[in-house]
Amino acid sequence: MKLIEAKNISYKINDRNILNNISFVINYGELVKISGDNGSGKTTILKIIIGLTKQTKGELMNHNEDKVCFLGHKNNLKNYLSIRENLLIQGLKLDSYNLDLLEKFNLRKHIDNSVGTLSFGQQKKLSLVRVLNSDEKILILDEPFVGLDQNSKEFLKNFMEAKVNENKTIIFTSHIDFEDDYREIKINE
């Protein structure tokens, strides 16, 4: 069943082409990777899919009416709050699942430290906790693997596969290749 259908989408900034005549179809329950070089418009595509940005030309049909889970470039964390507070203001509970996650990410011992003291990779892992808690049917992740160590990468990959097996749809961008069972939409001209 079709979830998203894009027909000849173009996007311009200051009359320069960012996206040029892109067409694709994404079905329910698919694991889709959008790949391309730096500046090829991967983020823009995601933003068009979730409706933050409107394409300059072309048509996008989105059959989804539910909430989506979106992970952007920015980590959505407050530097002046601790890990615990950051999770709480994101609406996450500190239950055993999340504490386990923090343990796995080596963050549990820092739980009362402010996020500003964490490294980039640690912050990235912390921002993933929200994604790992999501019960939305559609997950849209912008560069989820950047800055992660090998274990965390494996963990996230397994999580994504498990989600897809539950018939959830995941759309993500990456310019890293790894062998897995996903469909790829290339947007290099």
Binding site: I13, N14, D15, R16
Partner: protein, 242 residues
């Protein structure tokens, strides 16, 4: 319907072609017209009974003050057209009015304060009109710097237009409140409006100078919008054929 009309006849391309053809004769015509209006006012009218010859600044000051407000209103119309119909040309015109408006407003202030030296004995009075013109100048400058501060010009257009539309609502409010304010602080000052109705001998050249000044300034606006179109549509294919 309207949208189709706009897109056919109000595309930057056709506008530019028409403007390119007419802007120079238009400017020259109104320039000469304004010079003759000014010559009439400066040399062929009698001096004012109260103010003597210094009143002749009126032939430059009044057209400028008038245009300072008219330009903001025009900018509001083009901004509304841009926000409603997403017409790019309207945004270009809107943006190119702002610097011209700032220049005209500045000149209105300047000529007013020079006029004030012989009339009031001071170059600045906290008079209602002067104050609201000053605020108008601040608004123009705010708009210019807002547009300039964004690299993404499509976004800049939207913010600019929104600010113009809130600003145009604000102008009568400023006028009203400043009028209200100055009645208390400034009851003794000479206002230009409180004089008896202007004599026809001076009124006709004044009208003439206003009309020709309007034409002159709109000529400048067209020139400025051409500049804007060229800058913004650099990468379009039609532009290579000019």
């Amino acid at each position: 319907m309207i949208k189709k009309f706009f897109h056919q006849f109000a595309s930057p391309k056709s506008y530019f072609a028409i403007a390119n053809k007419f802007v120079k004769p238009f400017l020259v015509f109104f320039f000469l017209l304004y010079i003759s209006a000014l010559a009439w006012g400066l040399f062929f009218t009698p001096p004012d009974a109260v103010q003597g010859d210094s009143y002749r600044i009126i032939y430059m000051h009044v057209p400028a003050s008038f245009m300072a407000q008219i330009l903001f209103a025009v900018m509001a119309i083009t901004s509304a057209v841009f926000l409603i119909w997403k017409l790019k040309l309207a945004a270009y015109v809107s943006k190119s009015i702002a610097p011209i408006g700032a220049i005209v407003t500045f000149f209105a202030l300047f000529s007013g304060s020079i006029w004030g030296i012989p009339t009031w004995g001071t170059w600045w009075q906290w008079d209602a009109r002067i104050t609201s013109t000053l605020i108008l100048l601040i608004m123009y400058l705010g708009l210019i710097s807002l547009h300039a501060s964004f690299e993404n010009k499509e976004k800049a257009d939207k913010f600019f237009s929104v600010l113009v539309l809130i600003g145009v609502v604000n102008i009568p409010i400023i006028k009203k409140s400043v009028d209200w304010w100055s009645t208390l602080h400034q009851s003794a000052s000479i206002t230009l409006t409180s004089k008896p109705a202007i004599d026809p001998v001076m009124l006709y050249p004044l009208m003439f100078s206003i009309v020709s000044f309007i034409g002159l300034i709109f000529g400048l606006v067209i020139l400025s919008s051409q500049n804007e179109i060229l800058k913004r549509e650099k990468y379009k294919s039609w532009i290579k054929n000019i």
